[in-house]
Symmetry: C2
Subunit: 615 residues, 2 copies
């Protein structure tokens, strides 16, 4: 289903709406705060003995049954009353300048989203960030919201004594059996978690990023100078969150980016991240040497006022580190990193991002824009993994993390890149140590360089592992990585692959509720409840389509086999028949069955080998 919005050309025309097949959107009301409604996706199962499964749902109102979506109007203002109550005053916004849209000629100008919003900015000394509230012992509405959101199914679990047995290896994380708002506050106050939530992004449905919460994933969208338009980008956002992206980074470059960003922000229920240096570079005509503090500062304010929730800031790319990349196989592969390296060498000066970091903190704090400290020197190949340049930068990011905290800001840290499996854990351990347990946000890492076209997989392997080791958010990689701009299918493939990695990590960490969905799906599989199996999967459409390729008939949805093995060789059917026969044979046979189970355990204890070992 799609919703159409009548607008001039270049502006979003339609977006994908309606529930994922087999699911419905539900909003849970919090008892103490009925004004706070937390969204979930609920999957009803055909076996009525099975409780419906609630899953985490970042997709916003778009997946309601009859969503009232009007892109011109923007999404409902979930946070407006909360922020208003904090007494943060509206301010006169910075006027839009021609360079904000890349000096686009009038006839090619994309009009901005017409939704009107007040622009707020905290005064100096006025408490505004989630970090500041947390340090002051104050629980915000955002903290209540994410506590409830993270608790997903855990009420049910706590009732089931057997299932609460923690089973996992969390490498020193401290995942509680139940998340309270106070726990969230503590984690934010310790800097171990962030709630990216610009006060000017009131449409946001808050979420938390931290090692002791569910592993999150980010999807990148953004036009490039070569292809794609505004309409594509808003639909990419809606499409990415439909399949599970928890945050979205808008990496647009080129013309109209200010106005395209207004459409994205007003219509995004998830945090939006950007890399402000990209737009700053556009403003100076694309020459890194022409960048300066003034244009960068102006860009930060421009984007902060629009409501961007986190900024990638490559302040760790310092002048003395640049020569460390000289002998690398792939040099500098971060766009922001290479821009700053060029600037440093052109002027032979220390990076203005590093030198002005204090002022950057002041700006970001005033809107509660979170830092995503960029890894501009991340390795771009297996050969360059864990080298001196990468780790020098990481140490500086640790230094900056602590400084940003002292200024009241929320911080996460970006990480690699390309890393072979045996070098992944040292990245995580070093990050936790250097950066005082601030959340890690990694790109992959890719575990080999030899599979362009399949880098969602080369990196999905590394992402699952580093997520297990403690990374809080995984930045997706699509099949088009290194080759071109991802299209709609690539975005979906990237998101699903990273949902797999994140969920595999949650399971391995021993997240208390993670296995409920696996178990529900496995029971459905064993019971041949095909529809339930499809609906419980990360991508019901693909699971159903694959099944129907060879067995399209409706009757096959109840069949006790699939085309993989056929009816005679279906192990699950044989096992089921076995169990059914035993059940049908009455109490005597059942007693025998129970007796056999006891005997089996005896047998195992006693040995009982027929074959002797080789002398």
């Amino acid at each position: 289903m799609t919703v159409h919005t009548e607008k001039p050309s270049g502006v979003p025309q339609s977006v994908t709406v309606g529930p994922i097949q087999g699911s419905r959107k539900v909003y849970a009301q919090i008892k103490e705060r009925p004004d706070i409604r937390v969204p979930f996706r609920e999957i009803a199962l055909s076996d009525h003995a099975e409780a419906p499964i609630r899953v985490y749902d970042p997709s916003g109102p778009y997946t309601e049954s009859l969503p009232a979506i009007d892109l011109n109007h923007g999404l409902p203002l979930v946070r407006e009353a909360w922020i208003a109550a904090r007494g943060i005053a509206a301010t006169e916004p910075r006027p839009v300048k021609p360079e904000d849209n890349g000096y686009v000629p009038v006839d090619r100008l994309v009009s901005p989203c017409p939704a009107e919003r007040a622009v707020r900015r905290a005064a100096a000394g006025q408490r505004v960030t989630q970090y500041e509230f947390a340090r002051a012992g104050i629980i915000t509405e955002e903290m209540i919201y994410v506590a409830h959101r993270e608790n997903l199914c855990r009420e049910a679990m706590l009732e089931n004594a057997e299932a609460t047995i923690a089973d996992g290896e969390s490498f020193g994380a401290a995942i509680p059996p139940f998340i309270t708002p106070e726990f969230v506050r503590q984690e934010v106050a310790l800097g171990r978690a962030i709630i990216p939530a610009n006060i000017n992004h009131t449409e946001l449905e808050p979420m938390v990023i931290g090692r002791n919460f569910l592993v999150k994933i980010n999807a990148n969208i953004g036009n490039s100078a070569v292809v794609s338009t505004a309409a594509d980008e808003v639909e990419k956002l809606v499409w990415a969150i439909r399949w599970g992206a928890d945050t979205v980074m808008d990496l647009s470059t080129g013309r109209n980016i200010h106005n395209i960003r207004s459409w994205i922000l007003r219509n995004s229920p998830v945090p939006i991240g950007t890399v402000p240096i990209y737009q700053a570079l556009e403003k100076v005509g694309g020459d890194p040497a022409k960048l300066d503090w003034e244009v960068f500062k102006d860009t930060l304010i421009e984007q902060a006022e629009q409501g961007v929730d986190y900024f990638t800031i490559h302040a760790g790319v310092r002048l003395p580190y640049v020569p460390l990349t000289a002998k690398r196989v792939t040099g500098i592969v971060s766009r922001g990193g290479s821009i700053m390296a060029r600037w440093c060498l052109a002027h032979h000066k220390e990076s203005f991002l590093y030198e002005r970091f204090d002022e950057i903190c002041d700006i970001m704090r005033a809107y509660d824009v979170s830092f995503s400290l960029g890894d501009g020197l991340r390795p771009g190949s297996i050969a360059d993994a864990n080298d001196a340049a990468q780790f020098a930068e990481l140490e500086t990011l640790g230094e900056l993390t602590k400084y940003a905290w002292s200024k009241g800001c929320q911080v996460m840290i970006e990480g690699p890149g390309h890393v072979p499996m045996h070098k992944i854990k040292v990245n995580m351990d070093k990050q936790l140590r250097e950066c005082g347990e601030a959340p890690f946000y990694t790109l992959g890492p890719l575990t080999t360089d030899i599979a362009p076209g399949y880098d969602h997989i080369t990196s999905g392997i590394g992402a699952a592992m580093i997520g297990w080791f403690g990374t809080a958010m995984l930045c997706y990689v699509t099949p088009k990585e290194h080759l071109g701009l991802p299209n709609r299918d690539d975005v979906k493939t990237g998101v699903i692959t990273y949902k797999i990695a994140a969920h595999a990590a949650d399971l391995a960490k021993g997240h208390p509720a993670a296995r409920m969905r696996d178990d529900a799906l496995s029971r459905a599989r064993f019971d041949f409840r095909w529809e339930d199996q499809f609906n419980l999967s990360l991508d019901p459409d693909t699971a159903r389509a694959f099944h129907d390729e060879t067995l399209p008939k409706e009757a096959h949805k109840a069949a006790h086999f699939c085309s993989m093995c056929g009816p005679k060789f279906c192990s699950m059917k044989i096992t089921q028949d076995l169990r059914a026969e035993m059940a049908a044979m009455g109490p005597e046979a059942q007693e025998q069955w129970a007796g056999m189970q006891a005997k089996s355990r005896e047998f195992l204890a006693s040995g009982g080998k027929l074959y002797v070992e080789e002398p």
Copy 2:
């Protein structure tokens, strides 16, 4: 390109032939044994300063430039002279019986492959298996062949002192810098490696499976009762090995399987594995209770005479273990395991595979069919991982491994299944311990159950990890797993995904030559040699197609950007420009650059922070 063979319907009509784009087949002659020619795939690079890259190539003569393929005639008899020289006599083959082809009516009978071959069988006491030769201190031609094959690029590497620095974590494996035939012999003699090579599969290009060699992958093919034909299956074999499958299991069931198998074996350069219990079950009309030793024994001989290189034997599914599966979420999910469990309970008797294991060894030894001891009780869900049933069976497989060795047989062990990440390593460690370091051959494992349609990825994560930990061969999983029979695209996706997992494991283990291809590709990427980048990738066709989706012109193949970032934001272009500028500025600037590198290291040593830590 395809080659057509004129034959009646139901028989292979055509197969895919010709080199992979950008590659050519080369045969390396061994100095001491010019009669032994070892195949490689060579990728020439457009930068003539770069040596061509040789990669391991299991694809057989099909990928020669002008292959002389005639499916009726079968492949060249690589091993005929070697085996003839060992004095193993030809024997009168067992006559083909109606049940071998599932009592198919004459009008639906697929004719057998007309290629004539002598059928050999070793006499009692006559040395025949690679294990027996190895224990006797004899180096076979197969050992020489695989030593050379595994050495891939290592000659070049040994000349390059820098690259020989071992960099990896092998968890106790003993990977030498250079593989000699004597090393292969030792590994086979210790039972740590196998060379699956039935004496009746003379078309085989030998390969080795062991923890101290390159990680291998297996692809499953096979018709099921529901769909697919003989022609499909032979083309699936050729297609799977084209993309890198090292062995292929024919899991066919239903009618015509004897004759279809003859087409597969006569035209396969890779080891073929089967699960004989499938055909035995067909012969008794599909009722597990009707199975007996006689029909099973007859099937073993039938398939051993045809040349099958390894048999999955589920002899570890013992009667007392079956009740241990009663409380599982997904019961028994191995087809062979469920068949044997049903048999054991129906007769309330110990498995005839276990009780007759001695006789099974005698049959398999006589043809050098390797054991693949099946894990009939492997977990089919995250919930069932590492449970009592699974580990009880694994202990029995250890017992049987040692017995099979004492009978002169080669052995590998099959492993799970569905296992969350934190439970993978214990599987590997236990297998090595219980089974005396016999090679492990695992299916995935899948690290979560919630992504049907993407189980190549859920399992690729587990496969890369368990490969790193020590698994010698990874059985692929396709996107259709749990949903239906894989088609041509699914087979390719499964193979490429598992090549990624195997290669990521080789890199992490510190395989001395594994990184050469990654580095060559990364250099090509950094130099914008797009064609080289495509050709070095596991799937040049897909990499090229993805690139061309947005930048189709030939001129873009030399472009210093792609559509992902566009020309202004390409970090690699910026870094290259930076390096070029430095180079062009003459000796003074270069000195400055070198001086800066030295200073950077000083700077790092001294600290040099601007920002103080939070008090």
